[in-house]
Each structure stands twice: as C-alpha cells, then as structure tokens.
Amino acid sequence: MAEYALKMSKIIKTYGGIPVLKEVDFAVKPGEIHALVGENGAGKTTLMNILGGVVLMDSGEVEVLGEKLSHLSPGIMQEKGVAFIHQELNVVNDLTVYENLFLGRELRTRLGTVDVKAMCREAERVFSGMQVDVDPKALVESLETSTKQIVEIARSLLLNAKIIIMDEPTTSLNQNEIDQVFSLMTNLARDHGVSIIFISHKLGEVVQFCDHYTVLRNGEKVSEGPLRPEDGTQVDQADIARMMVGQDVLSVEVYVARRLGEAVLDVNGLHINGHVRDVSFSLRGGEVLGITGLLGDGKEHLVRGLFGDIPIDSGSIVLNGKPCSPRHPAQGKGAGLGFLPSNRKENAIIKDLSIQSNITIVSLEDCCTAGHVLSGKLERGMADKAKQDFSIKIADFGNAITSLSGGNQQKVVLSKWLSMSPSVLLLSNPTQGVDVGAKNEIYAQIMKLAEQGVGVIITSGEAKEIIKICDRALVMYHGSVRGELDRDELTEENIMILSTGGELGKNDRSTAVCNPNS
C-alpha cells in the first residue's frame, strides 16, 4: 500500500491573475482523519475542488493511492475513489434512502425494471458495515439531519470511496448528532482504511477528533502536524487559531476614536427559537458594535429579528427610550432602524429599477409633491445627495442598478437608508462581495456615520473587519453570546477562540496592546 492515500504537491491556482493557491502541498495517509483549516478565502475550498475535479489547477501534481493522475475530472475522481460531501446536503428528500443511494445507477432485474430487493439488500449491507441502523425504505425527508449525512456517506462507500472530503459536516447538527457522525468517521478510518479530509471552523472538534491538521492561509500552507497526544503533539486549539490568523499587519487605518453618546438601543434577553438564545446588549449613539461568530451562529437572525424581518420569541427591545417590537420591516424602519441585509443580489438589489429608484425606495414618500405625485426633481435631489455622501460612481441615475460594480451597488443599498436619518443602522456583512478598495471606502463611510451619532451594528464573519472598525464586539457561538470584547481586546485570536467555542482565561486573554502587530 502506498504511504499516502493522497498526495498533492506544488498546487498552483490563480483566478484572473490573483493567486489563490501558492505551491500548496497536501498529503493524507490511509485511514487518517485529516483536518484542513483556514479562514474564509484561505484556499481550502479551491484545493478541495481541484481534488474533486471541479476546478482545474494551473500546475502541480496529484497522486491518489500511489497513482499519479495527469487529468482530473469529477468522473475520474469518483472512479478513483474520491468522494466529496458538501456542506449543503445533496440528498433528494422526496425519495427513499435506497433510492438516494442508487440514484442514477439503479440496480435492475432481468426484465429491466428496478430491483428494489437487491438495492435494499446492498443498502443494508453498507449500513451494517458502518454499524448504523437505517431503514433503506424510509423516506429521506423523515430522517434527522445527521442520518441524512450518514446516507450521503453510505452513498460514497457504495462507490468504493477511499478518500472522503467532508466540508463543514457538523454545522447543522446538534451535539448528539455530531457525536454520531464522528464515531462513524472514526470507525470508517480505523476499520475500513478510508481517509477523511475534514474541513471545519470548529476547532474544538478538530482537536478532539482529528489525527492530523493542515493550516492554509492566503493560499499558502503555513503549518501541518499531528494532533494525537500519543504522537507527541503540543498543538492546542488556540495555536491553530493563531496559525489560521497569521501575522498579517492590518493595512489602512480607518478607526477614529470618538465620544460616544447616550444608549440608543437596549436589547434584553432576546430569544429566537432555534437561532438566538438570551442575547442582551446595549448600543450607544455613535458606537460601532460588531457581532461576529461563525456561519450559522445566529448573528444574522439576531439583526433580522431586531429589524422585524423574522419574529422574536421573547425578550425586549428599547429604541430611543421607547419599547419597540417590530413585527415587520416597515415597523423597524418606522421606529428608526435601517437595515443592510447580506446577500446583496438576493436581498437588497431591485434589479428592474434604476439606480435612482433603488436609492429613493426607502423614503419615496418624501419625494412627493403636495398632491402625492412623485417628483423626478425631488427624487434626483435625494439620489444626488446619496451619491455625494458616499462618493458613488454613477454615470447616469437612469441606468440599471446591475450596471454598477459590486462595490458601487453596495454603496447604493447602504446609502439609501440615510434619507430616513436612522438612529441605528444594522449592517449585515456590509462588505460582502466587494473588492478591497471599495471595502475601505465603505468602512470610512461607516465611521463617518458613527461620528454623526448614528449607532451602528455590524455583523460579519471576518474578524479583520470587526477589528478594523468596531468599538466593541460580541462573539456568538451556537446562538448565544460567548464573550464580549472591548476595542483593546479585539484580536483575531480572541475572536477565533470565542467563536470556536473556547474560553478566554484571565491570563491568556490577549490584548491588542501587547500584540505587536496592531
């Protein structure tokens, strides 16, 4: 047997001249659970997509089970025993378990009809090999999420997978389900010699369950090593967090120290079933409060709940001294809240309306003459002000909003809220899909708004972003606030430790003051 089940060497990949992977080496032994970790954009997904045959590399070598592969494609990789289990489960809910397992390559009887018996038999054989109990005839819809995941793993085993890539497999699972999936993974690795590449942000799980780790940062492999104490490792969760974050020096300084006003927003015991648990905080006028955490940790739901987009189950919100419980975004707006949702294209851009109409949509009533007739002149005035305040590059207000670059689109959907002079702005991923230059411009705008006394809440999964502009940050983990960091405690390490479920002890609470890099 080859020493390595998988050996990728000197993998290079660039997108439009920007290097995404710089001579990355990555090797996995047979029967090993190997964690691949790194921040968003570090290159994990690209590396795995190359392995899955979905993305072509520029140069490099891939060896699977000792065989050097000159050409990679999804079909070839499947044949060679590489299976990719994506974060979004790839099962058909309306079909049964065995139908899912054999989708596209159903077993047939001699008459050419599907051979249900044979498929169920095969399915049961695989499940018993995995030591799990799943009814092949059950409807997938009726299964727990973890069982659905098991179905996906079973499907890859039916394809004789030797290397299984699991991308964030545990994000949608509860603790019991996570334990079940991990015991299955361990069993597959130990008893069946299957190699598992485990991509996760949950460093606790990584340290607990994996044999080996590789850390990617900005397209480079920065570190790798064993994780089992018996292999003589000394790496812990905080070390990996530090390696992921690296020693990057923050570039342009945008943060401006300012005097904060009175509390404008008080949130107490906010609860949204299944997403947000007992969150309390207070926001002062002119303050920029960051809410961070990993994907699915409730920060999105929290701001959507505050704005009235989704119902709140319990808790109180006090805005400008008045109790406020918006049950519709119109009420949130009426109370003085502005909201920039994430996923611009889906949630913020009204594609059939012009740039001008996208700006004025929030306060269209203010663009009317006395007789409730829309005035082009008033609309143009409001749009012009937004354009100047946010230095948006617009050739013609009548053009389609989709003709603008991502950064300018984002500025449009952010600037539209200014016309209503909000007392609190909720910004969800404000620089999503925006290039670096525009990012800094947006940060500067946010600072300017804060200086004018607007309370700003920013949710972001990017620690760098939070550090750059926030006065204070709440770090969420599984729906509740894991910790609160003041500006002098805002470091990527602290954020990473809290957002991966760790604790900050009194002593290892690193502060920005003694961090030489900021």
């Binding site: 704005f307 987009d309 519709h328 975004p329 119109a330 949130g332 707006k333 009426g334 909201f339 949702p341 889906e346 949630n347 913020a348 851009i349 009204i350 594609k351 059939d352 309306l353 109409s357 949509i361 929030v362 269209l364 009533e365 009317c368 409730h372 007739v373 829309l374 590059k393 617009i394 050739a395 013609d396 009548g398 053009n399 989709t402 003709s403 603008l404 670059s405 991502g406 539209k416 290039d435």
Partner: protein
C-alpha cells in the same frame, strides 16, 4: 467582479428599438393594412370599431398589467366582470338608478379583488391557483343564480353610459378606454404605490427589507384591477343592455393577459409599461380587423393571435438578452 462600462444617457438605436418596438409594430401593421386595403381600412369608422371592440378587455388589461408587474396573475377577471355586471344590472333594474348601479359595480368588484388579494398574500397560495379556483366559483354562482340565462336592462340612462356618442362620432366606451389608460399610466409612473408595485414584482425580499409592506402593495394592485373590472363591467353591460351567465366574458382573462404580454409585461413580474399594454390592445384589435378585411377565414384568426403573442415575447426576450 462585474465591471460593465457605464453607459451614457445618449439614445442609442438599440435603446430606441427597445422602448418603442411595440409602437413601431403597430405603425407597421397600419401601413401594411393601408397598402393592402386602402381606405376601407384607413377610415375613422374602422378605427373607432377596432378600439371599441377591444376597449372592454383593454381596460381589464391595464389592471392586469399592474397585477402581473406586482408578481401575480388573475385568471378570474372574465367571470368576475360578468358577476359584477349582473349584480349591477340587477341594482339598476330594481332602483332605476344608473348611478347606484355604477357605485355597486365598483364596491362589489373591489371587494372581490380585495378577497383575492387577501387569499394570495395572507394565505400564501399562488395567485394562479387562487384565481383559477375563483373563476370556477364566480361562473358557477352566476349560472346557478341566473338559471343559466341572462339579465337584461331597459334603463335608458344606463345604456347611454357606453353608447352616447361624443361629438356625434366618438362612443363614450372609447373615452373610458383612454381615460383608464391615462389613470393607470399615472398610477404606475407617478405614485409611490406604482413604484412599489414594480419593486415588489422585481424583488419582493429586497422591497420588504426596504421597510415596505409588500402584502399591502400586492393587495392594492388587485384592488386596482378590481376597479378596472368594474369599469369594464359597466361598459360591457351598458353597451349590450344585457349579460349572459354562460357566454359573456369568456376568454377575457386570457385576452387581457395576451394584450399585456404583447405589450411587453413580463410574466415574472417587475417589468412592463401601461402605454405598451395600450399598444398591445391595439395590435390585438388590428390582427382581427386586418385578417377580416383581407378575407382570411375568421376561424383562423386565433391562430394568428397565438403566433403574434409568441413572436412578440420572443422579440422582447432577444432584445433584453442582447
């Protein structure tokens, strides 16, 4: 990263074609018909006929356009119009007052459309399904109530509502068509509600997250259609002097949708212009008229209409994709 070049305000030939293609097609049809038939076609009385014959459905098409732009559809308009018209005639006959009849038409029709809108928005049932069901319900109630027959009025002032000729040659029915065109054009272009209707149809989520009550907007679009149906019901029943429970208003929903679609209203919502729906109604009428004048068997007229609908949408797709 998307970085399309910012275009300037200049009117390019492409832009011109995009905006005025419907008008050009209308003019083209008129020119061709004039060449073929000369003054038989190009006469005032013929044009009055064309517009009058399509004014009732055309009025509905304006309301239908708003509902489609808002992201919904209404398949019950034909049956609703007849139901409204029959109640209106009944009120006129009982009270002898044309005014009370018209009032009834508006109140009843808007209420029915409010109910449609409420089921669609609050019940979260697709409008296609809701209005398909309502169409059966309205028609069935109508046939049951009128015993499969019709209802007639001899009220002269009610008859004048449609048939009175302004200046001796312009039937009021045509005036209603153009007035409704103007009203709906104004609503769609110069009111907050109109803008919100486009916004909801284009991206409901983003509109809602801009703090706009999207359900309310969608219901109001239905109610505006209800008002258009009321006008259509009065125009139709006053011109005919009667309504038949089985034959009146059949196919109106599809014809109204066809006019909107020919005029460039996109079925997925967010796009369309009332002025172009008006030209869609003209084109619809012209096809009928020209084919009859040229001597094509009337049984084939619908085949041509069908072809025109598909071609119109194909052309608009092409011009949008370019």
């Amino acid at each position: 990263m998307q970085s399309k070049q910012l275009s300037t305000n200049r009117m390019t030939p492409k832009k011109f074609l995009d905006q005025y293609s419907i008008m050009l097609i209308t003019v083209l049809m008129i020119v061709i018909a004039t060449i073929l038939q000369g003054t038989t076609f190009l006469s005032l009385s013929n044009f009055v006929n064309i517009v009058r014959n399509n004014s009732v459905v055309g009025i509905i098409a304006f309301g239908m356009s708003l509902v489609i732009i808002s992201g919904n559809i209404d398949l019950s308009v034909g049956a609703q119009m007849v139901l409204v018209a029959s109640l209106t005639l009944d009120v006129v006959n009982r009270t002898g007052s044309a005014f009370l009849g018209v009032l009834t038409a508006f109140a009843f029709s808007c209420t029915l459309s409010l109910i449609t809108g409420l089921i669609v928005t609050k019940g979260r049932v697709p409008s296609f399904i809701v209005t398909l069901g309502l169409q059966y319900i309205y028609r069935s109630i109508l046939i049951y109530t009128l015993n499969g027959g019709g209802i007639t009025t001899r009220n002269e002032s009610y008859a004048m509502i449609s048939s009175y000729n302004l200046f001796g040659w312009l039937p009021l029915q045509i005036v209603y068509f153009f007035v409704m065109a103007a009203v709906f054009f104004f609503l769609s272009k110069y009111t907050v509600l109109g803008r919100h209707i486009y916004a909801v149809g284009s991206n409901e989520k983003a509109t809602r997250l801009s703090g706009i009550k999207t359900d309310r907007i969608k219901i109001l679009a239905f109610i505006l259609l209800g008002a258009a149906i009321a006008v259509a019901a009065v125009a139709e029943s006053s011109r005919m002097g009667s309504i038949n429970s089985t034959s009146s208003g059949t196919g109106y929903e599809l014809n109204a949708i066809a006019m909107a679609v020919i005029g460039g209203v996109a079925m997925e919502g967010g796009k369309g212009k009332i002025t172009n729906t008006m030209f869609g109604a003209f084109i619809f009428g012209l096809i009928n008229n020209i084919l009859t004048l040229v001597g094509v068997n009337t049984r084939l007229v619908n085949a041509f209409k069908g072809a025109i609908i598909i071609i119109a949408v194909l052309l608009q797709r092409k011009s949008r994709e370019r």
